[in-house]
């Protein structure tokens, strides 16, 4: 069945659309395949591992690596259960137990859940949207290697006995240098921040791909629901991760250089860490849930043989969830002593968020009610999801009620709740998703029976393990304790949890074995085994490196168009120019705008990741004076990225379809890169906003304010600050003028911009010498952090100005070509705006 209405995005072809984009004449499918495979295939062997930028390869690597980390985290969970099975467990000593539960949580949250959803998004998105790759292939690869290297360091720390041991949310002052003098906390702070580069890269890429790389004439209101869920997820990542990144930077700087952001005696506050962490931490769990919900919205209609009920309601629910989830974070801090009104704001928001979640659950149940449910393996996991996630959601509403929360906070009731929503709401749907898309991944069908047995072991094992924890929590068992000698009443409950935990582990092992058997020995799958209508099934199995021989348009809206697409009747057939080409569309309507030429195989991502890793390694080793070399290495490698991106001549428009010619991206202003920079600056603005929040919060809440008298209110400081701002403004004007004068090359203006930005940076350096000692008080430390923010962005703006200048002098800028000018303009303006705001803030602090 290929009824387009079955898909979670109804594709309606209008007469106007059909009239606009005609079909290309059919060609030999095998010839097209060979032409595309030559251009899109990875290099063989180890060269391929280090140089591949293909979304399919990178996505599968993310998922496979995530499952390896899941296994490691699962082994740690079994160690925890072995320790807690008896009340005087001598299996692990306290120090080791602290490391193990910290690593279990950190691995599951940072090295399993986020990378698995990133991997699924990278692998799946171009296929369901009708594109050949993600918007930024090299960024995908960079993200993977940052994840691999960072995750390996974090896990290796266990083997060396220096794993993080302060809990997965690393509260200060426990994780301050005073109480955590070793490098354990630094492993978490630096390792997680390194891995989060991968998350930010994925967030930018997913946002831009969904908005700009869809099939021709696929408007947002008709795209697959998975697209909406992943768009919500990526935007949440853009806004949700920066507070954690900022907090990690501040804590690492406090540990390394004694800048007192969180030290009460010097005007800091441990509450600042909690706010920054949970500003990330709560959206994080919805970031984890949304892609899983997207998988449910995709799979349920297919296995119920009916269209999804309530596409519009689900889109509205996603919007509601995305926004409301940013208003809940203080529910993790109900017991810290904040006023009743604040408690009530967050309690109300925490209860309200159940509404969009319930809308989705009812839409799914309604879809199944309307249709004829097929109880195939993915559906078993979906039933498991309903049973488990709804229970977790109900305990979540219980915990949203402040008086109850005060009783249950930091007990095993919370542990039970979080596992119900995370395993129920993420793991079960992901296991359904893997089972569902595995035939497309490997081209084989699974061995019957193994998967079903795995499901029942996991389901029974899970509930046996975690349902009991509601009871142990209500009986008062706290979190993060390895022994409980004074509470024999908890012992038999913990023993039951531990036994069922072993059953659950066996289930996960059997699931992995089932996947292995399918991959290695499964029989060849028939085409579109689920008879799904969506575009990812309109290609051979396993999926080829290029996805579609020709791109889907209004005449090829669903899986039924497989043969016409393979024959080149869609848009942009083959690879006649020997380039990796994909279509770029207008974000709202999906009208085709231009053709993007994407990056091919390159070792730049792994080299860049190694350079960034060298910076983190030197920080971890305490070699702070060497760390700038790592930054320099990163800048040198990053320069190469821009150096191979432009062109020094105009290219003719490309024939995309009969009667439709589109320019190549070099001759367009609103490129994928431009949209990507906008997305990145949204994240950057959130980081800056978090810094401003820190200033406001400590000023208002922290004790030991006002700060000691400042020595910075001098004329030289004022002149240097004003001068720096003026030079930044000149740089912004120069960037605008360089674009306006690009027909004559714009070289004069790029040179002016370059010199003015360099001058501004020098003045910022001078300001650094005039600041008060940042170790004296939190206010002074925050001023240092603000200046650091300005310097970092000045370096980025300078690099972009240098790139634009190099482009101008090498002929890459012309009447139709802008080189690096547009991103330079954006960063220059951002640098100017945030620096001006910082200066105004510091002036206000001095005057008021």
């Amino acid at each position: 069945m290929t009824d387009a209405s079955l898909t979670s995005g109804q594709r309606e072809t209008t007469a106007d659309a059909l009239a606009d984009i005609a079909a290309n004449p059919p060609q030999r499918a095998l010839g097209l395949h060979r032409e595309l495979d030559r251009v899109w295939a990875d290099l063989p062997g180890w060269r391929g591992f280090f140089t591949s930028v293909n979304h399919g390869t990178i996505g599968l690597r993310f998922m496979a690596t995530a499952f390896v980390f899941f296994a490691i985290g699962g082994v740690l969970a079994m160690l925890i259960r072995a320790q807690l099975a008896t009340r005087n467990g001598a299996f692990l000593d306290n120090d080791l137990y602290n490391q193990i539960f910290t690593m279990h949580g950190s691995i599951m949250m940072f090295l399993f859940a986020i990378p698995l959803l990133e991997g699924l998004a990278l692998w799946l998105l171009p296929k369901i949207l009708g594109a050949r790759d993600m918007a930024f292939p090299r960024l995908s690869a960079l993200g993977y290697f940052c994840y691999l290297f960072g995750g390996t360091v974090i896990v290796l720390s266990l083997l060396f006995g220096v794993a993080p041991d302060g809990g997965w949310f690393m509260y200060v002052p426990l994780t301050d240098k005073t109480y955590s003098p070793g490098i354990n906390a630094d492993v978490w702070l630096l390792g997680v921040t390194f891995v989060e580069i991968s998350a930010m890269a994925a967030a930018v890429e997913i946002t831009v791909t969904i908005l700009r790389c869809r099939a021709a004439d696929m408007p947002l209101t008709r795209m697959p629901l998975m697209g909406w869920y992943l768009l919500g997820t990526s935007v949440m990542m853009l806004v949700g991760f920066p507070p954690l990144i900022l907090g990690s930077i501040l804590l690492e700087v406090q540990r390394a250089f004694d800048w007192p952001f969180f030290d009460v005696a010097r005007g800091g506050s441990p509450m600042l860490w909690q706010h920054l962490f949970w500003l990330f931490g709560h959206p994080e769990v919805y970031i984890i849930f949304l892609p899983a919900a997207g998988a449910l919205s995709t799979i349920i209609p297919v296995l119920s043989r009916t269209p999804i009920l309530g596409y519009g309601a689900l889109v509205a629910a996603v919007i509601g969830l995305v926004f409301l989830s940013f208003g809940l974070w203080v529910h993790h801090m109900f017991t810290v002593g904040i006023p009743h009104m604040a408690l009530a704001f967050f309690s109300a928001a925490s209860a309200l968020v159940a509404v969009p979640t319930a809308v989705q659950v009812f839409a799914w149940i309604g879809t199944m009610w309307e249709g004829r449910v097929q109880f195939r393996l993915p559906m078993l996991y979906i039933i498991g999801f309903f049973a488990t996630f709804v229970m977790g959601g109900l305990t979540g509403v219980m915990l949203a009620m402040v008086p109850f929360n005060w009783q249950a906070h930091d007990t095993h009731f919370v542990v039970a709740h979080l596992h119900y929503v995370l395993i129920g709401g993420f793991v079960f749907p992901m296991l359904a998703a893997v089972s569902y898309w595995m035939p497309l991944i490997c081209g084989r069908w699974r061995v019957r029976g193994l998967g079903e047995a795995a499901f029942w072991l996991i389901f029974i094992g899970f509930h046996g393990t975690f349902f009991i924890m509601h009871l142990t929590g209500l009986l008062g068992m706290p979190r993060r304790v390895g022994v409980y000698p004074g509470n024999p009443e908890w012992e038999w409950l913990n023993l039951i949890s531990s036994i069922f935990g072993m059953i659950q582990s066996a289930g996960f092992a059997l699931f992995a074995f089932d996947l292995f058997m399918q991959w290695m020995f499964g029989r060849r799958s028939w085409r579109n085994p689920w008879q799904a209508p969506s575009l990812e099934w309109a290609m051979p199995m396993p999926a080829p490196s290029y996805n579609f021989a020709s791109l889907p348009g209004p005449r090829q809206p669903d899986a039924g168009a497989m043969l016409p697409l393979a024959r080149g009747e869609g848009l942009l057939p083959g690879a006649p120019r020997g380039w990796r080409e994909t279509l770029v569309v207008e974000p709202g309507s999906g009208r085709p705008q231009h053709v993007a030429v994407l990056a091919s195989n390159t070792a730049l991502p792994v080299a860049t990741s190694a350079a960034i890793g060298s910076f983190f390694a030197m920080m971890l080793a305490g070699l702070y004076w060497l760390a700038p070399l790592g930054i320099l290495a990163t800048l040198v490698v990053a320069w190469k990225w821009g150096a191979i991106m432009g062109t020094d001549r105009d290219h003719a428009p490309v024939d995309v379809a009969p009667g439709l010619q589109l320019p190549l991206h070099w001759q367009v202003r609103n490129t994928l890169g431009y949209t990507g920079v906008v997305a990145l600056l949204v994240a950057d603005a959130t980081l800056y906003g978090s810094l401003l929040f820190g200033v406001g919060f400590l000023t208002v809440v922290a004790p030991n304010w006002p700060a000691p008298a400042s020595g910075i209110a001098t004329w030289p400081m004022l002149v240097m600050s004003g001068g720096a701002l003026a030079l930044m403004a000149l740089g912004a004007l120069a960037a605008w003028a360089a674009e306006a004068r690009r027909a004559t090359g714009g070289a004069l203006w790029t040179r002016i911009g370059l010199l003015s930005s360099a001058g501004a940076l020098l003045l910022l350096g001078g300001i650094a010498f005039g600041l008060d000692d940042p170790t004296r008080h939190a206010r002074d430390a925050l001023r240092g952090a603000t200046l650091g923010f300005a310097v970092v962005h000045g370096v980025i703006a300078l690099m972009l100005a240098l790139r634009a200048d190099a482009d101008a002098r090498s002929g890459r800028i012309g009447a139709q070509r802008r080189g690096a000018i547009p991103p330079w303009q954006l960063f220059q303006l951002f640098w100017l705006g945030t620096s001006a705001a910082s200066m105004a803030l510091i002036l206000a602090q001095e005057v008021l």
């Binding site: 209101t221 889109v315 409301l324 006023p339």
Partner: protein, 102 residues
């Protein structure tokens, strides 16, 4: 993209209101606004009520003027504007229901 902006305007207004009122709450406690009587209440409550009510009024305006287009596109805009109004009403009603600084 204009359509998306209309659909998100309500939730964005809620976000701004939430941040503003939470910030007002903290600032007011720090500055001792509860000690300054205003009409039948105090400056702290008056400031938060004023912002909340103005915000709700703005939400109502959005509910009325934003919807455009037809079919699914229109329904999502309507839903977005109502999400903002309901969220601001429910999550911020504590300004009239609880004590402020303790």
């Amino acid at each position: 993209m204009g359509w998306l902006a209309r659909a998100l305007a309500g939730p964005i207004l809620w976000s701004a209101l939430f941040v503003l009122i939470y910030a007002l709450h903290g600032a007011g406690c720090n500055l001792g606004w509860t000690d300054h009587p205003v009409l039948f209440t105090d400056l702290h409550h008056a400031a938060m009520w004023a912002v909340w009510l103005a915000g709700l009024a703005l939400h109502v305006v959005l509910v009325v003027i934003l919807p455009t287009g037809t079919g699914r596109a229109r329904r999502v805009i309507v839903a977005g504007s109502w999400i903002g109004l309901v969220a601001s009403t429910f999550t911020l009603f504590p300004v009239i229901a609880t004590s402020t600084c303790f």
